[in-house]
Amino acid sequence: MKKGVMRPGHVQIRVLDMGDAVKHYTDLLGLIETDRDDQGRVYLKAWSEVDKFSVVLREADEPGCDFMGFKVVDEAALNQLEKDLVDYGVEVEQVPAEELKDCGRRVRFTVPSGHAFELYADKKYTGKWGVSSVNPEAWPRGLQGMKAVRFDHALFYGPELAAVYDIFVNVLGFYLAEQVLDPEGTRVAQFLTVSMKEHDVAFIHHEEKGKFHHASFFLDTWEAVLRAADLISMTDTSIDIGPTRHGLTHGQTIYFFDPSGNRNEVFCGGDYHYPDHKPITWKAEDLGKAIFYHDRVLNERFLTVLT
């Protein structure tokens, strides 16, 4: 049942070299730099997003993901969700307003898979980039590279999926849209949504805690995914796999890496979800087809290369 969590709001990604990273996320992905702070972090957004930023890059000596944030409808919902988390036994940390520039207070917590998440209600509303909110044109001119439309979801690898499910579904009001079950019926992958999208966040079982698989950005069309593939070749960017289609979610996708080895995805299409939809199940025996619908075999890299 929905509890006021609205959508993915931001992700903070660690990079080894800020200059290289900013070039990758702006020139290639087509995000727009919107600010920097005195910690040296760089704030970016995709053009169709209404808030000031959705991607924050932080230079560090180990790549990966610091946290993913979800925006909730209002302060009352934030207070209630915070209380619900505490009542459920989840330790929460208060991150004061303005710790991220132009973002309100954040409630941060770490789930048993080792990943940090945040909830927040306020962020500066700057509107879609390059188009007016009155009689808007179809798209803005001057976008770079892949022209990413929005930050869409992230996939994390870690243990304790059942406990993570309980927090996301029972406390935060997400729905299980798709899952992978092994022959004993244990859930080894879970795709969770709080919207009509087929996933807003996903987890795949992995023994090591806190690993980051990818941050994903939405594109409008298959043509745009092919064009993204062209750009990956033109820029000699490290590719993982694609363009292809997923069985899970049925999205059309390509995976590649940022200059620090963090995986990115751009994709289009995919199924939709309403609260009355029952979860879709893929069998772990057919994982190759579930992940790469055309090849029907997994590339080892997809399961093991993480930051």
């Binding site: 080894v188 079982h205 090591e208 200059p259």
Partner: protein
Amino acid sequence: MAEFQVFNRTTGDHFICQEGQSVLKAMEQLGMKCVPVGCRGGGCGFCKIRVLEGDFECGKMSKVHAPPDAVEKGEVLACRIYPLTDLTIECVPLPEAALAKQTTTKPLR
């Protein structure tokens, strides 16, 4: 432009690496598979090798996969080293992730 010979002692393969090119990229370009290829960005630790002989320059690498004391011993990431002389390397087996057996779900492989 200078080119250097890279010899992988574990597999017996050798290949040419151009000046300014990473060892992993040189290997991949020649269609060879004697070092595992991951992110190609110094982030995942997949391409870890040990350099037994020769000099090289290092790009930025994740401290988790290439901590300074290991780098000192020649344990580096092939995607982030650029030879300055001919190199002799060997493969370093991937460390299995420190496994917590009490987890309630199972790995996918």
